[in-house]
């Protein structure tokens, strides 16, 4: 199946134009983002890759509308982003599932406008999709880390957004769960074809998932390189092309991959 799409071939979902961000804390100014330009096509899967603390979450929060950049603009579907919007849902790095709601109630959180039957139908659909059948009435404190993460993804998908913004969603999971979660996410993406922006500091993860990998430098973050991953899914992790792309990024960041 052919899945990699160049941004220019489809309609553009997100345009990041000259975005800069300066934080002021205790009178000290920190330049976090410096002149970022990026376009993401509709239905595209883009990974933002960079070292911890470089400003990936900041960029994601600007695109989601939680922060306004100190310079530049972000456009989604041609409109300038003014604030958060249910058409683009964030899955937060710090775990945003509500601990006071059950699995069902969490998934139904954004569905207040629907009538009961329709809402229940959607909830059931997404409970099944992320494999939480049997846990509908459990509270998040009774779920494992991986289940909580799937729950947050399900809550995001349930409102049928155009775009998902995931901030190191699998960072806290063990490596086996992480692999399963990646496969699940790709399955969901292939089924629903949302635009996905995925933040990670894991080079392998980025190369396994993305159509394009946006490599960011350490703070102040600039875009170093955008690598198109032209390998169809499901990807063979020992294929020469995969290794070539991965090693290219390793080198770009300045790491030869010997331990």
């Amino acid at each position: 199946m052919e899945s990699s799409v160049a941004a220019s071939a489809t309609r553009i979902a997100v345009q990041v134009e000259d975005v800069g961000m300066i934080f002021t804390r205790d009178g000290k100014q920190t330049l976090v983002l410096d002149n970022i330009n990026l376009e993401v096509g509709e239905g595209e899967f883009v990974c933002l890759l960079g070292p911890s603390g470089c400003g990936k979450s900041t960029l994601l929060n600007i695109m989601a509308g939680f922060l306004s950049p100190t310079s530049g603009t972000v456009r989604v579907g041609g409109e300038v982003v003014q604030g958060p919007d249910p058409r683009r849902i964030v899955v937060f790095q710090e775990r945003g599932v509500f601990p006071w709601l059950t699995v069902e109630e969490n998934i139904g959180f954004g569905l207040a406008a629907l009538d009961r039957k329709e809402r229940q139908h959607r909830i059931n659909h997404y409970v099944g999709m992320v494999g939480l059948k049997g846990f509908e009435n459990s509270y998040p404190s009774d779920l494992s880390g991986g289940m909580k993460q799937r729950l947050e993804v399900a809550r995001a998908l349930a409102v049928n957004p155009d775009m998902l913004l995931l901030d190191e969603p699998f960072g806290a999971l063990d490596s086996i769960t992480r692999l399963t979660m990646r496969r699940e996410l790709l399955r969901i993406w292939e089924a629903e074809r949302k635009t996905i922006l995925f933040v990670t500091h894991d080079i392998d993860e980025a190369v396994q998932l993305a159509d394009r990998v946006v490599v960011m430098s350490a703070r102040p973050a600039t875009i170093q390189q955008i690598v198109t991953i032209d390998i169809p899914h499901p990807r063979d992790l020992s294929s020469p092309r995969y290794l070539e792309l991965r090693d290219g990024i390793f080198q770009q960041i300045g790491l030869a991959h010997h331990v």
Partner: protein, 260 residues
């Protein structure tokens, strides 16, 4: 964490009983040895409790105290929780109101006694308004703190789903702050129970506090004084257990550390 020794099941019952017996014995023999006439022994207190039970006044006194706490504390919660939520939610409003709260809060509610008696006369209103004053400020402060401690990620998630500010307050901020609000209510209820006894000693002529002071003043009946104190302790314990049971409700359980 605690030391790792796990006690056997029988110890759970026997140990507290032993301690209780030891305390009673200590009390009994202290009374015997000091040959005091005034201070009652445990047996006399037991008789005192029986005597109180037989008199109808006891139930009237208990109900009076509980009613005052219910009204004073209830009003404080009904007014204090929304006010605290709003002040926590709008920092600008909090900046305006905070100095007033900070100055009124540390005024011991009992210091208001002359003023409340002047306004309401001696009677229920004076007592309930003192309880209200004692419970109101801790509740408001707990709500303000609770709201400002809600992790930003929950607020952001709520806004992401397109909630209006009011919806955000009701569906995200309130439930997220609820565990801390419950802790505040619990502290406030403890204070209310402390204040009602004091208020009844000064400002009214019924209730458990009045029973304590009246037993002393009319005939130095210290057996009844101690009996009334024990009742105050037991009822206070029941109130606390009641509010603790709220902490086990499913939707707030996450906010509390549970042993066992």
């Amino acid at each position: 964490m605690n030391s790792l020794a796990t006690p056997a099941r029988w110890e759970r019952i026997v140990l507290p009983l032993l301690v209780l017996l030891a305390c009673l014995a200590l009390w009994y023999f202290s009374v015997r040895w000091t040959k005091t006439r005034v201070f009652p022994s445990p047996f006399e207190v037991g008789k005192g409790i029986k005597e109180l039970m037989h008199k109808q006044v006891l139930w009237g006194d208990i109900i009076d105290s509980l009613r005052r706490v219910a009204i004073g504390f209830g009003t404080a919660a009904i007014l204090g929780v929304p006010l605290g939520l709003i002040l926590g939610w709008y920092p600008a409003a909090n900046q305006v109101v905070n100095p007033l709260l900070q100055i009124l809060r540390p005024i011991s509610p009992l210091a208001w006694i002359p003023v409340t008696i002047l306004l309401f006369g001696i009677g229920d209103h004076a007592a309930t308004s003192l309880i209200f004053l004692g419970a109101f400020f801790p509740i408001v402060v707990a709500c303000i703190d609770g709201v400002s401690n809600v992790p930003a990620v929950y607020r952001r998630a709520g806004r992401n789903f397109g909630l209006t500010p009011v919806q955000l307050l009701l569906r995200v901020v309130f439930p997220a702050a609820l565990p801390q609000i419950i802790v505040g209510l619990r502290i406030a209820l403890g204070i209310a129970w402390l204040v009602v006894v004091a208020a009844e000693m000064v400002a009214v002529d019924s209730g458990l506090g009045y029973l304590v002071i009246d037993s002393r003043n009319s005939g130095k009946r210290y057996d009844l004084v101690v009996a009334a104190m024990l009742l105050i302790g037991i009822i206070g314990l029941c109130l606390d257990l009641f509010i603790r049971s709220v902490e086990h409700f499913k939707s707030v359980r996450w906010g509390f550390r549970h042993d066992s």
